[in-house]
């Protein structure tokens, strides 16, 4: 078995037992990157030299019997909007070209500085996380490792592709309306979006700050639980992070799920959902039943309004969050300095934001404007409350809710690039989770007739990451397809 076929937690054991060195593992990742990066384009910037130096240092410390942190030098791929000190962090936008943050994000501090993961590079994404396909990157698209004519999903497409292809062992992503779960689903890997407030957003460049949440993309559920244990908890620098006990998520995975009640919302199997996807997901639900879980029907009646609500809110917030990119303090400023300061600001933004980002800023500015604010933004907040209440209501009767993660499997590169509305609709099963602020995980549950992976979404109640990880782990073991490495072919 090649090193890249092992799970993260298995590699930790190998390093602990001195079967392999940190450096060996790191080098094998870079070999895999050499082989596949030309076809995939998962990464936008590498930190190879620094990573190698750190690997050598960790090996030396290990040899001397020093503690090197619970992640034992596992190679980590970071989404290009989570700040790494002195490393280019550009949100895959021209406007932040060359920008190097002077500080580490909270999660980077925890994973890399405290627990000894090794940052190997930043991964490709839709510009400022705005997209479902990773086609909206200023560096060009990432390709799906299962079929390189298809998108990897987005916006954390680079992170998902790097995990699916074995380029990296652990990856970070961010999820505003499905940006972790969509690519994890399209690439057949595990994607976890924690409860809003479970993980500090300090150092996560904001797209829509009431929805954004940092999460993980990994090869298996155990690795997600392991990462979540490390990155969860109150951060005094993020007022919205919640001071709530962090469970030992890895310890709760083995529990039997025969007492669990699992809700299946009929609205999540509606018209827009591809039949093949529906069948694969339903088969997985029978597996859960086989594990002893009780399956019941639940309802999320306002699901049909979620995409409209989600886009109104995220665009409104984005129009304000992205206002700071004017070229004055950091990033790129237009070379043409004629006119007054507003001319230069406008030109800078016009030249350096991509079309999708500009579209969302326009729409968000519009929906917050006098006269439209009540009609759009306030109304969206009201519907958001209804959707939240739908979930609160549903969780009175069940422990978790399951559904397909995406209405389809990965589509072709360019298929929807000129049809943004169609692209937005792909978020219908993931964005309600962000509107409610609850946690959800996606695991692969099978393949369609094109051999493309299908994602299975498990949604939990507030701060019940332990519960959904438990169910996900049990189902993952039962299905036993998670070890498959994507071939990186057409």
């Amino acid at each position: 078995m090649k090193l890249l076929e092992y799970m993260g937690y298995e590699l930790i054991e190998k390093i602990k037992n001195k079967d392999i060195s940190v450096q060996e593992l790191l080098e094998s990742c870079f070999v895999r990157i050499e082989e596949t990066e030309g076809s995939l384009h998962s990464f936008v910037n590498f930190s190879k030299e620094k990573a190698l130096d750190k690997a050598k240092l960790l090996d030396k410390d290990l040899k001397n019997g020093k503690k090197i942190g619970g992640l034992y030098g596992l190679p980590l791929a970071n989404k290009d909007l989570i700040c790494v000190k002195d490393f280019p962090t550009t949100c895959c936008s021209k406007i932040l070209k060359g920008y190097r943050p002077p500080y580490n994000a909270f999660v980077i501090e925890r994973l890399i500085e405290d627990q000894g993961a090794i940052h190997i590079g930043n991964t490709n994404m839709d510009e400022f996380a705005m997209g479902t396909s990773t086609e909206n990157s200023c560096y060009g698209p990432t390709y799906n490792p299962w079929d390189i004519t298809r998108v990897p999903g987005g916006s954390s497409g680079g992170s998902a592709a790097s995990i699916a292809s074995g380029q990296a062992i652990l990856a970070l992503g961010s999820d505003t309306g499905g940006s972790i779960r969509c690519p994890a689903s399209f690439c057949g890997k595990v994607g976890l979006k924690p409860t809003y407030g479970r993980v500090s957003r300090y150092g996560l460049v904001a797209f829509a700050n009431s929805l954004d949440q940092i999460g993980t993309i990994t090869k298996c559920v155990y690795d997600s639980a392991l990462m979540l244990e490390i990155i969860s908890g109150k951060d005094p620098l993020d007022s919205t992070s919640v001071d709530k006990k962090v469970e030992k998520y890895t310890k709760g995975l083995d529990k039997p799920i025969n007492k669990k009640v699992i809700g299946v919302p009929k609205e999540f199997f509606g018209e827009g959902v591809n039949k093949e996807v529906e069948n694969v997901v339903k088969k997985a639900i029978t597996k859960l039943e086989g594990l002893g879980a009780k399956i019941i029907s639940v309802s999320i009646p306002h699901l049909e309004y979620t995409v409209a609500t989600y886009y109104l809110i995220c665009m409104s917030e984005a129009s304000s969050n992205l206002a700071r990119y004017d070229g004055l303090r950091y990033g790129i400023m237009s070379k043409n300095l004629s006119g007054d300061v507003y001319d230069v600001f406008s030109r800078t933004r016009d030249e350096n934001f991509g079309p999708e980002v500009r579209r969302r800023i326009f729409l968000g500015t519009y929906t917050l404007s006098a006269g439209y604010y009540d009609m759009f933004y306030i109304k969206a907040l009201k519907v958001r409350t209804l959707i939240k209440n739908d979930f609160i209501e549903a969780f009175k009767n069940c422990d978790a809710i399951v559904s397909p993660t995406m209405p389809s499997t990965a589509f072709k590169i360019g298929e929807f690039i000129n049809d943004p509305l169609q692209m937005y609709l792909a978020d219908i099963l993931t964005c309600p989770v962000n509107l409610a602020g609850i946690p959800a995980i996606t695991i692969p549950c099978g393949f369609n007739s094109n051999n493309m992976p299908v994602g299975f979404q498990i949604i939990g109640d507030y701060f019940d990451e332990e519960g959904i990880l438990n169910i996900a782990y049990q189902l993952e073991q039962e299905l036993n397809i998670y070890r498959k490495i994507a071939p990186v072919t057409k």
């Binding site: 943050p101 500080y103 904001a206 007022s239 917030e317 304000s320 500015t365």
Partner: protein, 489 residues
């Protein structure tokens, strides 16, 4: 058309920096940015770097609560911050985190009032609200804005806490506005939240209209003194337009304090739409009654109550006690003084008040100092009153002793010095002045930013001569040397 004075309608929006806070409103950078090298008091939060998040300064909530209580406002128990969106180079995020009482938002506190007295007539100036917000960065120009070849941005001020006090449009003359600001300044001082004598700690926007006509908003009035001036100018301008039969338009105007005129910035149709909406990076602020009570218990006596008490305890007139309490330092000084001599009665209380409010304050004003800048001790005035009342010196002689008293000399010491020769040899004093300047480079450096620092240098000459140097000559010498060195204008 005749326009009566009571046809004037004035409302004020007063922005006060909470200079007594240690750190900024949303990060842990120091608040004490004055005179520091540009862009050195900054961090990812106040410079608006991608990924940074604001965290509320709890002490700012405490300070705002103090002011709200002192102004009799109704404090909101639960509130959000809002984002005020507009592009400007002094805005690190191109939005300002503020509070908003529309669009589902609430101010920090609503209502409240300040009672003013003018020509023995009382009036309540009703407040609309007070709220917290962050200060933008400071734009630095060479000379005037219009002719400066560049604009520099200094983010040291970015994120410093401002509290905005908005009145209802209920004042009807510049004098009323002046009295209102005088009282507000006093209340702010008593609340212990800000030092309004610091440069740039106050900014006022004024709404002015003539009854039945459109209003104008005058921005950029950067001191309380300027407010009365700006209002007078604007009222005359509006009245003159009406006299000439012209219509007034709703517009925003800019106070040019150099030329002492207002200039039109924009008319109503170009008013910015700030797209206020909730700041989701901050959690709602919850204020309970216990907290309010605790803050209330910690608040000192406010000027109004104190004035009543002084009238009662020291038999002072309303006029005297009102004036005495205006500056907390003066009032504290007074009480310490009169309480230090048990033999004092109503006559001495009145005498002490006259000495302090007339004689001492006149000299302080001449020297552009506050009482805390001097070495004057409350007991010195007790002594001088005793000397006068015991017939040891005449009032006339006593008044010649004030400058020496401010240097900290006791009455007996001054009388002794008076007996000696005053040193008024200019050449000798210039030599001493140069020595003092050479020996105290830090104070000299401080003179660039702190107009009061030069007093310390003058004091050093007095020290060297055991108080015998002629203080006028000493002062002139220090000023001349500093000017020559280009340290002061």
């Amino acid at each position: 058309m005749s326009i009566q004075n009571n046809d004037v309608i004035i409302g004020l929006e007063v922005h006060i920096q909470l200079t007594n806070l240690k750190t900024k409103l949303f990060c842990s950078c120091s608040n004490d940015y004055r005179g520091k090298d540009p862009n050195t008091y900054v961090c990812p939060v106040c410079i608006g770097l991608p990924g940074s998040l604001p965290v509320i300064n709890k002490k700012a909530i405490n300070f705002a609560t103090r002011l709200a209580i002192a102004l009799n406002c109704e404090i909101n128990k639960s509130m959000y911050f809002f984002r005020k969106n507009y592009f400007y180079p002094d805005m690190s995020k191109n939005f300002q985190i503020s509070q908003y009482n529309k669009a589902g938002g609430k101010a920090f506190a609503d209502g409240g009032k300040i009672t003013i007295k003018l020509n023995s007539h009382k009036k309540d100036v009703i407040l609309n609200r007070i709220h917290l917000e962050e200060d933008p960065a400071r734009l630095v120009h060479k000379g005037s804005i219009a002719t400066s070849p560049y604009t520099l941005v200094d983010y040291n001020r970015s994120g410093v806490t401002l509290i905005e006090i908005v009145t209802e449009p209920v004042m009807s003359s510049p004098e009323e506005a002046r009295e209102f600001l005088k009282q507000l300044k006093s209340i702010v001082q008593y609340s212990g939240i800000s030092r309004l004598d610091l440069e740039g700690s106050v900014r006022v926007d004024a709404n002015i209209s003539i009854k039945g006509h459109e209003r104008s908003e005058v921005k950029n009035i950067n001191s309380f003194k300027e407010v009365e001036r700006a209002l007078r100018h604007e009222i005359v301008r509006q009245k003159n337009l009406l006299k000439r039969g012209k219509d007034l338009i709703q517009e925003t105007r800019h106070w040019d304090d150099k030329r002492r005129i207002t200039i039109s910035l924009r008319t109503k149709e170009f008013e910015a739409d700030y797209r206020y909406f909730p700041e989701e990076d901050l959690v709602p602020i919850e204020i309970d009654n216990r907290f309010i009570q605790q803050v209330k218990d910690d608040l000192p006596e406010m000027p109004n109550e104190r004035s009543l008490r002084l009238r009662r305890e020291y038999d002072l007139s309303e006029f005297d006690s009102d004036n005495l309490v205006l500056d907390k330092d003066i009032a504290d000084f007074y009480e310490e003084g009169v309480n230090s001599d048990a033999s004092f009665g109503p006559n001495e209380y009145k005498q002490y008040c006259n000495w302090l409010m007339n004689d001492i304050l006149r000299v302080l004003n001449e020297q552009n100092k506050t009482i805390k800048d001097t070495k004057l001790h409350p007991h010195q005035i007790v002594d001088i009153i005793r000397y006068i009342n015991e017939g040891k010196i005449t009032t006339k002689i006593a008044k010649t002793m004030i400058e020496d008293m401010l240097e900290g000399f006791s009455i007996s010491e001054i009388l002794e010095i008076k007996g000696k020769k005053r040193i008024s040899d200019e050449n000798f004093l210039i030599k001493l002045g140069n020595e003092v300047i050479e020996e105290n480079p830090n104070i000299v450096k401080d003179c660039r930013v702190n107009p009061k620092a030069k007093e310390a240098l003058i004091g050093k000459i007095m020290q060297k001569t055991k108080g015998q140097a002629d203080p006028h000559i000493a002062r002139n010498i220090i000023l001349k040397i500093l000017e020559k060195k280009g340290i002061i204008d």
